[in-house]
Symmetry: C2
Subunit: 186 residues, 2 copies
Amino acid sequence: MRPQKINDEELIKSIFQSIRSKGFDGVSIRDLEKCSGLKKASLYHRFPNGKIEMTQKVMAFVADWVSQNILSFLKDQNLDIETRLDKALENISLFYNNGEYTCLFKALSLENSYSIFDKELEKGMTNWIGAWEQFGIDKGLDPILAKENAVKVMIQIQGALTVSKVMKKNEVFTQTLKNIAQLYQL
Amino acid sequence: MRPQKINDEELIKSIFQSIRSKGFDGVSIRDLEKCSGLKKASLYHRFPNGKIEMTQKVMAFVADWVSQNILSFLKDQNLDIETRLDKALENISLFYNNGEYTCLFKALSLENSYSIFDKELEKGMTNWIGAWEQFGIDKGLDPILAKENAVKVMIQIQGALTVSKVMKKNEVFTQTLKNIAQLYQL
DNA sequence: GTCTATAGCTAGATAGAC
DNA sequence: GTCTATCTAGCTATAGAC
């Protein structure tokens, strides 16, 4: 047993960055060798089921990170309501690097890979929407409106990522986060 | 010279459906053989520069269709303002099959293919935004607000496509189109 | 213009040395 | 645990017959 060149978390993080930017079909094992610093065979040693397993581990890591750093703030009834929103938006901005990074929902929802990952993607997005819904309710919104708003927020985040990428304007994303804040100011 | 099995427009349309759903990296020549009914060599005869040329021709076709069937209505000052919006939304719904189909902006904006197509994508999205902006101005909005709204509409369409796909709920897309209509009712 | 056949390459994946 | 070397399948692309 030689020493690990890179620990599990750092390995997953580097693979995550490649998958999110190139998508499942677009990323190759060669790409993952480069970004991780490990050779093919080492990657297969760490993830016996190959690219699919790597992607699943990435999804689990991301779900966990998002849950702990974004959704938990939205749902935390021990914090005051303003802080909950501020912290969540702050970490969303961090997570997407102000709109420069793409999202797994986008990178993994094209046809080829979709069928393999659709259950997990749906579950992940349901969690996002649920957290915004809870936040809306705690903000005093009617439950129906809270749910509608939650979906609208999700749509705005996803849309802003695509638009800011295509238009090469990160301001589109930052402005959208401000608009989301305003949505809950009223 | 044998007769064409499939004419240029039908050929492009079938290739379009494969590219939009699988993305540039996800679609293979084998996929395109199946969806078009032509063999590899015939596809290369029609598009000597291969998959890149096919994608470029698809983008040109789509830009043209969108311009004629969506953006032209938004901009047409000879129609009454309600009809302009109704017609545009109707054909958007048709174009995306009520949110079931994806969008080239999404399918082609992942890292690998992006650098090849980014100029065209940006140009295409600029046209969309410009048309909504013009519509907003003719609707009586302040030019600044008209521009802001135009970007918001683009974000909502793109976001709704991702969300409705991941959540497997076309209603998300149809509802979003209604929300866009409302945005201009006020 | 379409086809079969094939070239040449790169992909994902594995075997076995250290 | 990591590596070099290798396998096989699939990919893009081309040559040449009809």
